[in-house]
Amino acid sequence: MKPARFEYTAPRTVPEALAALADTGRDVRVLAGGQSLLLEMRLQRLRPDLLVDINRIAGLDRLGVDDGMVEVGALVRHEVFDSPWAVPGPLGTLLSLAAPNIAHPPIRALGTMVGSLAWAHPASEWCAIAAALDAVIRLRGPEGAREVPARDWFRGPFETARRPGELLTSVRLPLLGEGTGVGFIEHRRTHFSFAQVGVAAALTVRDGVVVEARIGLANCADRPVRARAAEQALVGAEIGSTLFARAGRVAADQDAAPLAEPYADVEYRRHAIAVLVGRTLRQAAEGARQ
């Protein structure tokens, strides 16, 4: 199918974009990478009246590091994170482990990390990492600028705390200290499918004991999940395979709320979550020891 008719504008500045987005009487949408939006419009599940193409706004492609955080502008494409050196330290490694799982190179050349957070697909890799690290989403709108931490951002499938007329300008993620080990593993049916289960983990270990743990789950509930019960099971414990297997079980039984999918019923998915969380923690622990 072809997209339904719409109007199009390509502002050059953020204030111009905000002025266009202020037209809240109609369905007005931001066009970033377009790799979800244009597909939805082709399927005519979305029929916006006006598209505000932000791709010509200078400065939104900024990727900057300050204060132990990286700030990813709204036009930084997925492909930037294919390289572990795009972002310093363990966070750069974590993002580069996750990036190749997102579609394939031509989609990653256009799609954006911030667009993924705006779209809030429950299986999104970036959304799971944002949940794990409690990323901060920065917005500008009719009432000025504000920030929303990831724990308050995701409200359900494709639902976020974004208010009408708001533009996401960037997301901030903590760099993670040297010595933190990271892991990212996902399972999907084919290379072109979305994750059936995706797991992101960051572990800080001192003298063989976990001092900090962060786990994010993709497609394990109706929204990205931070596996806090599993994290609690880890902190203060001695690292080892039994610990990671136990934490996997906790994540599957207490943190996740998987929904049945055509090729994966709830029982299967809980099993996959337990196994993959254990595996991802092992991967992170190896990094933490180095």
Partner: protein, 158 residues
């Protein structure tokens, strides 16, 4: 909307509706039917073209987004004297096509990667990851991988 596309170094002033995707405008308005449309959902890669040198899905990009930009399609791969691109010769030599429907997309995804990094053919993992971008229903992919390796080696007689 009035836009200007530079397609294969030729300037095309066009009048297009915003809802029209780049692939349709290339095929219908520029009459360049080498760019194929399969799934129209970003999955198969038959529609892959280069926009400002990067491989993108022309079924998931609006023509109006490309105003003022330069587009290269499979018709623009040949050299100045009309000779085939080394990748095109390698695809032929390696039997990397049977029905040929997927070929323009594979050629463009490979051409984009090769322009960005001429050493890509030396790393089998990167060639495999690149080939995973697109779908071919005939060849079983192995000849396509061989062709990309062959076409990317300077001096290889394809």
């Amino acid at each position: 909307m009035k836009i200007t596309l530079t397609v294969n170094d030729e300037v095309h002033p066009l009048e297009v509706e915003p809802r029209r995707v780049l692939a349709d405008v290339l095929r219908e308005d520029c009459r360049l039917t080498g760019t194929h449309l399969g799934c129209e959902h970003g999955v198969c890669g038959a529609c892959t073209v280069l926009v400002d040198g990067r491989a993108v899905r022309s079924c998931l990009m609006l023509a109006v987004q490309c105003d003022g930009r330069s587009v290269r399609t499979v018709e623009g791969l040949r050299g100045p004297g009309g000779e085939p691109h080394p990748l095109q010769r390698a695809f032929s030599a390696e039997h990397a096509l049977q029905c040929g429907f997927c070929t323009p997309g594979f050629l463009m995804v490979a051409a984009g990667a090769l322009a960005a990094d001429p050493t890509i053919g030396e790393d089998p993992d990167r060639v495999r990851a690149l080939v995973e971008s697109n779908i071919c229903r005939c060849t079983g992919y192995e000849p396509i991988r061989r062709a990309i390796v062959r076409g990317s080696c300077p001096g290889s007689v394809a």
